[in-house]
C-alpha cells in the first residue's frame, strides 16, 4: 500500500464503515462489532502513514479538479499527521466507551448515532490531511453537518434549540467569514495550497491584512474564540461520547488545527510578526482563556464546566501560535494532542458518573471517589493534565508555551498562562477534593451504585494512561511538532 492510497483509505474507511453500520442496523451486536472494526482499521491505516511522515516525506494526492486551480487535494504534513493520529487513536477507545454508554442509558436511534460518528471521523481525517483551503473547508462543513444530528440526538425541545445554536453559529461563521476569506485569498494569490512560509507574503498588507486575519479567525468558529464560543456549551446536550470525542477532540481540535494551518501555511509566521492584527488576536485569545476559566469556575453542571474549560484550553493553542515563535508553534501542536487525551478522560469520567449514579452536578459528587475509584482516579489524572502539572501531558505543552513566550518576551502571554493555571486549579481541585475527602450527603434520593459498566471503565483507564504516557514518551509527537517549523526549535 503506497502512502497515497493510505491517505484515500483513511478517508474512505469510516465512510464504508458508516454504510455497513447502516446495513447492520437491525442487529446491535453486529453493528457495534462493525463500528469497532472500522475504527481499528482506520487506526492501522493512519499509523501506517506515520513512518513516511517521520521520514520527512509529504505524500499528496489530488482527487479531482473543480476549476483550474481549484482542486480537492490531500497533502499529509507533520501537523496533520499528529492530528490524524490523535483522532484515529481515540476513536476505537471512544467506540468502546459509546457501546457501554449507549446501552447503559438505553439511548434511542443508536444506528443513526454510529453512522454520524463514522462520517464525522471521515471528515476529521479529511481536515487533517487537506492539501488546500478548499478541501479543508469542505471537510469542515461536512464535520459540522454530520455532528448536528448527534447534538440534537435526544430530539426534545432543548436539544433542538441547542442544535439551532450549534448549526447557526458554525455554519454562519464558516460561510459568512471563512469562505469569504478563502475566496479573497484566492483572488489575491491565485492559489489555495498550503505552503511552508505562507502564500500571502507580499500580497496583502496594512488594514486589509488585519481584516483578512480576523475573517479567518472568526470564520473558523470551531476554535471557539470569544465571542463566538456559545455553540460549544450548547453542544453539551449531546450524549457524553459525542462531547468526549467530538466536542473535546475532533470538532474543536479541527478548529484550532485549522487556525494553526492558516497561520503557518497561509499567512506565514514572518508576515504576521510585523502586523498589529496578530497582537490583537493574541489579546483576544488571552481574554478568552481568562474569561472562559472564570465562567467555568461558576458552573455547577459538570459537563458545562468541562465545556468552558475546553474553550479556554482551545485558546491556549491560539495564544501559543500567535506568540509567533518556533518554540510556541511546537507548543501549539503539542497542546492539540495533550489536551485531547486529558479532556476526553474528563468527559469519559463525567459520562461514567452519569451512567452509574445519574448525577450531573458537581455539588452531588461528595465522596463519590470511594464508590467509583477507577473513574475518579482517571478524572484526577485528566484534571492534573488540564492544570499542567507533571507527570501529565499538559505539563509538556505548557512548558513549551512558556519558553516560547519568554523567548519572544511576550509578558502578556506569560501572565495569562500563569493566571489561568491558577484558575484551572481553582475549578478542578475542588472536584477532586470533594470526590475523595468529603462525606456524601444523606438524602432520600441517594441510591447505592458502584462503578460504571466495564466498557466505560476500560475506556477511561486507557485514555488516562495515555495522558501519563505522553509525558514520559513524547518523542513522536514532539518530532512531528518540531518538523512543523522546519526543525528550528
Amino acid at each position: 500500500m503506497t502512502a497515497e492510497q493510505a491517505i484515500l483509505l483513511a478517508i474512505l474507511i469510516p465512510l464504508i464503515g458508516a454504510l455497513l453500520i447502516g446495513l447492520t442496523g437491525k442487529k446491535p451486536n453486529l453493528r457495534e462489532t462493525v463500528s469497532l472494526l472500522t475504527s481499528i482499521t482506520l487506526l492501522g491505516t493512519v499509523l501506517s502513514l506515520l513512518p513516511t511522515v517521520l521520514d520527512g516525506q509529504q505524500p499528496s494526492v489530488t482527487l479531482l479538479e473543480i476549476a483550474p486551480g481549484l482542486a480537492i487535494r490531500f497533502d499529509l504534513e507533520p501537523l496533520g499527521m499528529l492530528f490524524a493520529c490523535v483522532a484515529a487513536l481515540l476513536w476505537p477507545i471512544n467506540t468502546l466507551y459509546s457501546i457501554g454508554y449507549m446501552r447503559g442509558n438505553n439511548e434511542q436511534h443508536q444506528t443513526r448515532f454510529y453512522i454520524c460518528f463514522a462520517i464525522a471521523l471521515s471528515s476529521t481525517m479529511g481536515i487533517a490531511m487537506a492539501g488546500n483551503l478548499l478541501t479543508l473547508f469542505i471537510c469542515y462543513e461536512v464535520l459540522t453537518l454530520s455532528t448536528y444530528p448527534l447534538v440534537t440526538h435526544k430530539g426534545n425541545e432543548d436539544a433542538l434549540k441547542a442544535g439551532r445554536v450549534y448549526l447557526g453559529i458554525l455554519l454562519s461563521t464558516s460561510i459568512g467569514f471563512l469562505l469569504l476569506a478563502i475566496l479573497w485569498t484566492w483572488h489575491l494569490t491565485g492559489t489555495l495550497d498550503f505552503k511552508a512560509g505562507g502564500i500571502l507574503a507580499g500580497k496583502v498588507a496594512g488594514p486589509e491584512l488585519i481584516i483578512l486575519l480576523f475573517l479567518y479567525m472568526y470564520g473558523i468558529g470551531k476554535a471557539a474564540l470569544m465571542p463566538i464560543h456559545r455553540w460549544l456549551p450548547a453542544a453539551m446536550v449531546a450524549p457524553t461520547p459525542v462531547s468526549a470525542l467530538l466536542h473535546a477532540v475532533a470538532v474543536v481540535k479541527a478548529g484550532v488545527f485549522s487556525v494553526v494551518k492558516v497561520v503557518v501555511y497561509v499567512f506565514g509566521l514572518d508576515m504576521l510578526k510585523i502586523s498589529a492584527g496578530a497582537d490583537w488576536i493574541l489579546w483576544l485569545a488571552g481574554f478568552t482563556i481568562l474569561v472562559a476559566s472564570i465562567i467555568a469556575l461558576r458552573q455547577d453542571n459538570l459537563k458545562r464546566r468541562l465545556a468552558y474549560s475546553t474553550i479556554s484550553q482551545l485558546s491556549y493553542v491560539i495564544l501559543a501560535i500567535f506568540i509567533l515563535a518556533p518554540l510556541s508553534t511546537v507548543a501549539a501542536a503539542l497542546h492539540i494532542a495533550a489536551h485531547a487525551f486529558g479532556k476526553i478522560t474528563l468527559f469519559f469520567a463525567a459520562g461514567s458518573i452519569y451512567t452509574a449514579a445519574h448525577k450531573t452536578s458537581i455539588s452531588q459528587l461528595n465522596g463519590i471517589g470511594y464508590r467509583m475509584p477507577w473513574t475518579m482516579t482517571a478524572f484526577s489524572i485528566g484534571a492534573i493534565s488540564m492544570i499542567g502539572l507533571p507527570p501529565t501531558a499538559g505539563f509538556l505543552s505548557k512548558w513549551y508555551m512558556l519558553m516560547g513566550a519568554f523567548q519572544e518576551q511576550q509578558l502578556f502571554a506569560v501572565l495569562v498562562i500563569v493566571a489561568s493555571t491558577l484558575l484551572n486549579a481553582a475549578y478542578f481541585i475542588p472536584i477532586i477534593y470533594a470526590a475523595w475527602f468529603k462525606q456524601p450527603k444523606q438524602d432520600e434520593h441517594e441510591h447505592s451504585h458502584g462503578e460504571a459498566p466495564r466498557a466505560i471503565v476500560l475506556a477511561l483507564m486507557i485514555t488516562a494512561a495515555l495522558t501519563l504516557l505522553l509525558f514520559f514518551f513524547p518523542d513522536v509527537p514532539l518530532q512531528l511538532a518540531t518538523s512543523l517549523t522546519g526543525g528550528h526549535s
Partner: protein
C-alpha cells in the same frame, strides 16, 4: 436535413404537437406524446449546442426570406445554452409529471393540460431561438398565455386569483415590451436584433431610443419578477400544479433573464446601458434589496412552496447582480446562475411535489417527521437546500464563487456582504424544514416514500446539482465564452 433546420424544428415540433395533444382522449396518451416531443427537443438542443460550442453563429432564414426583412433565427452559444436548459428541464419534468398530474389535475382536463404545456415549451424555446425582436415578443406571449392557463389549473381555488394576478402583471409587462419594440422600430426601421444593434449607433442618444430601452427594460423586469415587480410570483408558484411550479421556476424566469441580457448587451449595447443610462445604479440596489428582503420574507413563510418562491425572487437578485457588474466575470456568474439555479429549484420543487403527492400538503407543520417516513425525498430536499445555500461541491457554490470573484475584481465590498447575508438567510429558511422533517415527531403514521417515477427524476436532478458542481468544464466554458461574446470580445 435535420442539421440545417435544427432551430426551426425545436420550435415547430412542440407547436404542432400542442393541438394534436389537445384532441387526444384524456388518459396517458397525451402524456406519452408530450414526453416524446420533449425528449426529441432535448436531443435537438444538445445537437445545436454541439454545433455552436466552438463560437460559431448559425443563421437560419425562416421561409428563405433574407434578413433583415424576413425572420431570422440566429443561434450562438448563449441561445443554445438556454435552449438546452429549457429542453432539459422539460425532459426531466415529464416522467415526473405522469403521476403528479394524474393526482392534481381533473381527468377531463389532462389533454388540455399537456397541450398548454407544449405551447409553453414551444414559446420558451422560440424565445431562445429567434433573432427577431417582434418574433420574440410573440413567443413571450405564447409562453405567458399558456402559463396563465396552466397556473389556473391548480387544485386550490386560490390558483385562479394567482393566475389572474399573473395575467394582470404579465399583460402590463407585455404592453411595455411592445411599446419599447414599437419605439425602437420607429427610430431604426428594423426588427432584426442584429440589424438593430448595427443601426443604433447612428441614432444613439435620442430621447425616443432611451424611452424604448426603458420600456423594454421594465417590461422584461415584470416577466422576470425583479424586485419590486415580483408580487405575482409567490402566489403563482405556490398555487400552480407541482409540475408547473417545477417547470416555470426552472425555465420561465431563466428565459426572461436571457431576454434581459440580450436586450441590454446585444441589442442596445453595454455602452448605452451602463455609460449613458447608468442602469447599474438601478439594477444593483434593486437586486441587493431583492436578495436580502425576499430571503427575509422566505423565513416567515409556512407554505413551503411559497417560501421557495420568495427564495426564487432572491436568487433572481443574484442573476441581476452579475448583470449589473457588467464585467466578463459578472456576466459569467449570471449565466452560470441561470443554469445552476434552475437545477437547484427544480430539485427542491420536485421534492416538494413528492411531499404533496404523498401527504397532500406542503405546510411546514405537515413536514414533521418526514425525514423518517420519506427518507429519499427529504434527503434530496436537503441536497437541494445545500446547493441553494452554496456549499462547495454543489452548483450553488460555483455561481456564488464567480459572483464574489467578480465583486472582488471591482473592489465592491458591499456586494460581497450582500451575497454573504443572502447565503446566511438561506441557511435559516432551509434549516427550518430540515429540523421539522428530521427532529419533530410525525403526525402522519401511514405516510410512505413517494413512487419511483417521482423519485428517479428528482434524484437525476440532485445528481446533476453535484455533477455540475464538481465538473464545471461544460457550464463554465460555455458561460465564459457567452459572456465574452456579449461584451463584444472574441468568444
Amino acid at each position: 436535413m435535420i442539421e440545417t433546420h435544427l432551430s426551426l424544428l425545436l420550435v415547430v415540433i412542440p407547436l404542432i404537437a400542442a393541438p394534436i395533444v389537445a384532441i387526444l382522449p384524456n388518459g396517458r396518451l397525451p402524456w406519452l406524446v408530450t414526453l416524446l416531443v420533449s425528449l426529441s427537443c432535448l436531443v435537438l438542443a444538445i445537437m445545436q449546442l454541439w454545433n455552436v460550442a466552438d463560437g460559431s453563429i448559425i443563421s437560419y432564414e425562416l421561409g428563405g426570406w433574407a434578413p433583415p426583412w424576413g425572420i431570422e433565427y440566429r443561434i450562438d452559444v448563449i441561445n443554445a445554452f438556454v435552449a438546452l436548459l429549457v429542453a432539459g428541464v422539460a425532459a426531466v419534468t415529464l416522467p415526473y409529471a405522469l403521476l403528479s398530474v394524474e393526482k392534481e389535475i381533473p381527468t377531463k382536463q389532462i389533454s388540455l393540460f399537456y397541450s398548454a404545456f407544449l405551447l409553453c415549451l414551444s414559446g420558451l424555446l422560440g424565445i431562445t431561438q429567434t433573432g427577431d425582436i417582434f418574433n420574440l415578443f410573440v413567443f413571450l406571449e405564447i409562453s405567458s398565455l399558456s402559463s396563465y392557463a396552466l397556473i389556473s389549473l391548480g387544485k386550490q381555488r386560490k390558483a385562479l386569483t394567482a393566475a389572474y394576478q399573473y395575467l394582470f402583471m404579465g399583460t402590463i409587462g407585455a404592453t411595455f415590451i411592445l411599446i419599447g419594440i414599437g419605439l425602437a422600430y420607429a427610430v431604426t426601421g428594423t426588427l432584426n436584433m442584429a440589424d438593430l444593434a448595427a443601426r443604433l449607433p447612428e441614432v444613439e442618444a435620442t430621447r425616443t431610443l432611451q424611452t424604448a430601452f426603458i420600456f423594454l427594460l421594465i417590461g422584461v423586469a415584470i416577466k422576470l419578477a425583479v424586485f419590486p415587480l415580483h408580487l405575482w410570483l409567490p402566489n403563482a408558484y405556490a398555487y400552480a400544479p407541482s409540475v408547473i411550479t417545477i417547470f416555470l421556476a426552472a425555465t420561465a424566469t431563466k428565459v426572461a433573464a436571457y431576454v434581459l441580457i440580450r436586450i441590454i448587451f446585444t441589442v442596445f449595447g453595454a455602452s448605452l446601458a451602463f455609460q449613458e443610462m447608468h442602469i447599474h445604479w438601478l439594477l444593483l440596489p434593486l437586486a441587493s434589496i431583492a436578495v436580502i428582503s425576499a430571503s427575509l420574507v422566505a423565513i416567515f413563510q409556512y407554505n413551503i412552496k411559497r417560501m421557495l418562491a420568495y427564495s426564487s425572487v432572491a436568487q433572481i437578485g443574484y442573476i441581476l447582480l452579475g448583470i449589473g457588474i457588467a464585467s466578463a466575470t459578472g456576466l459569467t456568474a449570471s449565466l452560470l446562475h441561470l443554469f445552476n439555479h434552475a437545477l437547484m429549484k427544480a430539485a427542491l420543487f420536485m421534492a416538494l411535489g413528492a411531499v404533496l403527492y404523498q401527504v397532500g400538503s406542503v405546510a411546514l407543520q405537515d413536514m414533521a417527521g418526514l425525514g423518517r417516513r420519506m427518507p429519499w425525498t427529504m434527503a434530496a430536499f436537503v441536497a437541494g437546500g445545500l446547493s441553494l445555500i452554496g456549499v462547495p461541491l454543489t452548483v450553488g457554490f460555483i455561481s456564488k464563487l464567480y459572483l464574489i470573484l467578480a465583486a472582488f475584481e471591482q473592489g465592491w465590498w458591499w456586494l460581497i456582504v450582500v451575497v454573504a447575508i443572502g447565503s446566511l438567510l438561506a441557511i435559516v429558511y432551509i434549516w427550518r424544514i430540515v429540523e421539522t422533517a428530521y427532529f419533530k415527531p410525525t403526525s402522519h403514521s401511514n405516510v410512505t416514500e413517494a413512487p419511483l417515477s417521482l423519485l428517479l427524476p428528482l434524484w437525476l436532478i440532485v445528481i446533476a446539482n453535484f455533477y455540475f458542481g464538481i465538473d464545471t468544464s461544460l457550464t463554465v466554458s460555455v458561460s465564459e465564452s457567452a459572456a465574452n461574446m456579449l461584451l463584444g470580445g472574441k468568444p
